[in-house]
Amino acid sequence: MLSSISEWFNTHRNRWLDRRIPASHEYRFDLNNTFILPTSFGWVLIFVVIFLFILGTNYQNNLVLLLSFFALSVVLLSLFHSFYFFTRITIKFIKNEELFANQPAFLNIKVINDSDIIESRLYYQHQYSQHLTNRDRRGRSKKSIVRMLALKNNEQEHQLLLGALPRGKHLLPRITFFSSYPFGLFKTWSHLAVSDKLMIFPEPIQNKTLHFTASSQKDESGENRLLENSSSEELQGIREYKDEDPIHHVSWKHVAKGQGMLSKDFAAHQSSTIVLNLSAFSDYSLEESLGMLCYSVMQLSKNQQNFGLNLGTQQILPSSGESHRKQCLTALALFSDLHSKVNDSHIGEDL
């Protein structure tokens, strides 16, 4: 009953927030997206003001009255100073590094401070949504402290700690930034939304099956059901055209230049092209197999090997290079096996 009420409340709140603070890459805190309320200490001080006023009136003591008015004016001024301080801050979400599941995820931000208040604290916090329920099922948020080192007109890069997340493409919940400068009387906060979805690749799990060297794979073909050999050649140099060379090996650029018929010299590629296959990991759970595949992808890319990826429903042709690696990793991250619904439901309970 209560949970449905809180759910209803949450959806409405999110909708309202989406209207008021739409997602963006860069936020400058201002009247539209900042909220301010007294903290509990602020309420305490207001109570102190009232109490001192009563005390001063009863004893007809002007000094105590002055003290109560002084505290009241400090509270009042603190309201404006808190707001002023908070609205001097700009937050930019910048490019992220690659993030993997079950490892502490970071979000890179750049913080620009326009005021001359240096070394003050800016806090942030976020709510774990249903999909991101990881450690904490009840959706309690973890609070972390960002130390803000801010000089005049200076920018600083920080990393927001998001905790460990499962693999996949996640729409991050709103991140709350707040501060209670100067006296801890008022809390100014804002809920910022990251516009891009966060891609979390599966956690690389080291496995020996793909641990290979640059030498020929023919020796290990007995063990490897994963690998399919296909020929590939590597350009080694230019040599004179010999009659038995195939026509497509001719370097026509040189012919056009008038340097005569020269053919490209290909060296036999030492290692064979590998195609990573998901079905080979049927012994392991989906996540583990994806993790191992991920590790393989990373290793192969590091060694600049050609490789391809076969995930049953999806296939990526062998290639190499940075974009190919990203493509593979993305495919792994987004892979959802429709046949193994059983596996999916374990995601929540596993951890």
């Binding site: 200490f41 305490v44 001080l45 102190v48 001192l52 009563i54 005390l55 009136t57 009863n58 004893y59 007809q60 003591n61 002007n62 000094l63 105590v64 009255l65 002055l66 003290l67 008015f69 002084f70 505290a71 009241l72 004016s73 400090v74 009042l76 001024l77 603190s78 404006f80 100073h81 002023y84 326009d114 208040i117 240096i118 070394e119 003050s120 604290r121 130390r147 803000m148 080192l149 000089l151 005049k152 007109n153 200076n154 920018e155 501060s179 209670s180 400068y181 100067p182 006296f183 801890g184």
Partner: protein, 667 residues
């Protein structure tokens, strides 16, 4: 044991210092065991301050101990008074809380507790020196609170950002204070002061001698025109009628209060009077001070102060706080205004036993045929003949004190003389009573007379059948200097003055510079009392009347509205000034550059880049002398660095900008 000064936990140290200072100012209401406890805990805290990483004391233990202390305090609370118990409670809570200062909430709790303690201190001490001290402590509390919001070091305290805010708060606070209507006390409050200094409603002759050791201020009187001279400065406070052989007290209490009117009495306009304003310090009784016969001036505290049938002024409640009232006194009027025929028996009352010698002596000397004046003269001769001494340290006379005083010791203070004389008068069938109050007072520069506890005095009034109550001061017979010049000059043994109070400022009277300094301090304190502390409902009303011309709710609400508007304007100004800062440092730099260049007669054209401009300047300047070679060099250097920054560096720092500015300045 080496103390590493660099690792001092400064917020905790500052809290500790503030706490100790506040404790020292309100030592009186604290119970003895509380003081001991506080001393021990302060020792612990001092150790913790210099060793910030020492082991942490468990919270649970502290909480248990705190509960125990609170229970003990509550047990004692009923006979100790509400305010004093509260102060003890706050003290214990504060120092226990200071032991574990780790989270922000701990700092906040200590700050709030210290704020309450400072408020309690302000109830006890309102002099300007204490006010300055307490204000510094409050500012310190806010500075410490501010430092919890910084990260550079948990152990340091930076006041740079909080002081402007605190200074901005002062005018707002003052404005609110002046404008907010002063309410009367909402309910009956518990007693303010814990100690019993000052005149009481029961006097044993030795008491006033004790009082003479105190140099506390009792009240100040500012006169508008004429100032009475010393012999006229008899400030009436308490009138006592019941004598039990040793102690005088009050039995005849007349609940009624009286008013009198100059015109109804048919006083001539030339009737001499003194007009003055009194600011009375808090005291334990409700009696106020005045010169006979007082008449309250209408605009002052008339609601709370009444004139009694014995010509004293009385407030409704004991004086918890400073009280201001204005009086007009007619010293030449006869004290026969009110009919007290039903109190005659009280004024002739004598104790049934004791002091036999005095009784016999009076019976021998006086018979009822003698007239009033003759009786008085005979009794006064007793003091003039014998070798009586006026001293602050009379011998201890527990049994038959009047006998011992009159016939054996013959040494005493004003109250001894007065008590003996009043008793003798009663024995001689003359209605008489004892009046205690103050006599004399120190005259300050601005027609202000300051009266201290050592000016306390007791004298006698005897009822003449026609003339009414007449004052007789036996002290004047024995030590006329006391009346003419004050206590100090009258003591045969000068060392007795302020003997128990060696640091008393009153002793400085003889030294010229220090004496003047004391006068200046007095004056400052008096202005402070009058302006700030005496700012009550009437003063506020008169102030508003002066500004707005009339007094009614509309005007008051208008004043409030204006106050809020001006606060808003003030805030706006503060933040407008803050925002006005050229955002783009480069734009500022460019402006400066163009200004410098134009001084040499060159103007940057629209399509020109800086490089082109600089080349133009250098080329066309060849041979001319309005730009020196050094300046040209700076110009070139500036251009190089500027371009390097703009097109090269990712993050531009203050140092670079400063360098560029410096280069420009050299032009």
């Amino acid at each position: 044991m080496r103390f590493n000064v660099r690792v001092v936990d400064r917020p905790a140290l500052l809290f500790l210092i503030a706490f100790i200072v506040v404790t020292l100012t309100i030592l009186e209401p604290l119970m003895a065991w509380v003081i001991v406890l506080i001393a021990c805990i302060c020792g612990i805290l001092l150790y913790k301050v210099f060793r910030p990483n020492s082991k942490r004391i468990q919270n649970r233990m502290l909480n248990l101990f705190a509960v125990f202390c609170i229970a003990v305090l509550i047990f004692f609370s009923t006979d100790y008074g509400l305010l004093n118990t509260m102060i003890n409670l706050l003290m214990v809570a504060c120092c226990l809380k200071m032991i574990n200062l780790h989270r922000k909430a701990d700092y906040q709790a200590v700050s709030v507790t210290l704020m309450f303690l400072v408020a309690c201190g302000m109830i006890f001490h309102q002099e300007i020196a204490f006010t300055i001290l307490y204000s510094t402590i409050i500012c310190l509390l806010f500075i410490i609170l501010n430092s919890t919001e910084f990260t550079n070091s948990t152990h340091s305290v930076n006041s740079r950002f909080s002081i402007p805010i605190l200074l901005q708060a002062v005018p707002i606070a003052v404005l609110l204070f002046v404008v907010t209507p002063k309410l009367p006390p909402l309910w009956q409050v518990p007693e303010g002061k814990g100690t019993e200094t000052g005149l009481a409603e029961e006097i044993t002759p030795g008491d006033i001698a004790n009082l003479a050791q105190s140099d506390d201020l009792v009240f100040r009187a500012e006169f508008s025109d004429a100032i009475p001279d010393n012999s006229e400065r008899y400030w009436r406070a308490i009138v006592l009628d019941y004598f039990d052989g040793k102690t005088w007290s009050i039995q005849a209490r007349d609940p009624q209060h009286y008013n009198w009117n100059e015109t109804r009495l048919g006083l001539p306009s030339s009737q001499r009077y003194f007009e003055y304003v009194i600011i009375a310090e808090p005291s334990t009784t409700q009696w106020l001070y005045s010169i006979d016969i007082p008449k309250l001036v209408n605009s002052s505290n008339t609601a709370n102060i009444k004139l009694k049938s014995q010509y004293q002024l009385s407030a409704n409640t004991p004086l918890y706080t400073q009280t201001l009232y204005s009086v007009r006194s007619y010293p030449d009027l006869a004290l026969n205004m009110f009919n007290e025929s039903d109190l005659m028996h009280a004024y002739l009352q004598v104790p049934t036993s004791g002091n036999e010698k005095t009784q016999e002596w009076v019976k021998r000397q006086i018979n009822n045929d003698l007239s009033f004046e003759q009786k008085i003269e005979k009794l006064q001769r007793k003091f003039l003949s014998g070798d009586f001494e006026y001293t602050l340290k009379p011998p201890f006379m527990p049994n038959d004190p009047v006998d011992r005083f009159l016939f054996d010791e013959k040494k005493g203070f004003c109250s001894h003389y007065a008590s003996a004389f009043a008793y003798m008068l009663r024995l001689a069938n003359i209605p008489s009573r004892l009046v205690t109050g103050y006599q004399g007072g120190e005259e300050q520069i601005n027609k202000v007379i300051s009266v201290y506890q050592y000016d306390a005095h007791a004298w006698v009034e005897a009822l003449h059948p026609q003339k009414g109550w007449l004052r007789f001061d036996p002290t004047a017979l024995v030590a006329p200097n006391r009346i003419a010049a004050g206590l100090r000059d009258s003591l045969q043994n000068q060392d007795e003055f302020m003997e128990q109070n060696p640091f008393s400022l009153a002793k400085l009277h003889d030294f010229p510079i220090l004496g003047e300094l004391r006068q200046i301090l007095e004056k400052l304190d008096y202005s402070w009392s009058q302006q700030v502390l005496g700012f009550n409902q009437d003063t506020q009303k008169s102030l508003i009347k002066n500004i707005f011309g009339s007094i009614n709710t509309r005007v008051m609400s208008l004043a409030l509205a204006i106050a809020f508007v001006s606060i808003g304007v003030f805030l706006g100004l503060v933040f407008a000034i803050k925002s006005y800062r050229p955002r783009d440092e480069f734009a500022q730099l460019n402006l400066l550059f163009q200004r410098k260049i134009s001084k040499f007669g060159y103007v940057k054209e629209k399509h020109e880049t800086m490089k082109q401009l600089v080349t133009r300047v250098t080329e066309t300047n060849m041979g001319q002398t309005n730009i020196s070679a050094r300046q040209l060099k700076s110009l070139l250097e500036y251009q190089e660095r500027y371009e390097a920054l703009i097109y090269g560096k990712q993050v531009i720092e203050q140092a670079d900008l400063k360098l560029l500015k410096g280069l420009l300045k050299r032009l």
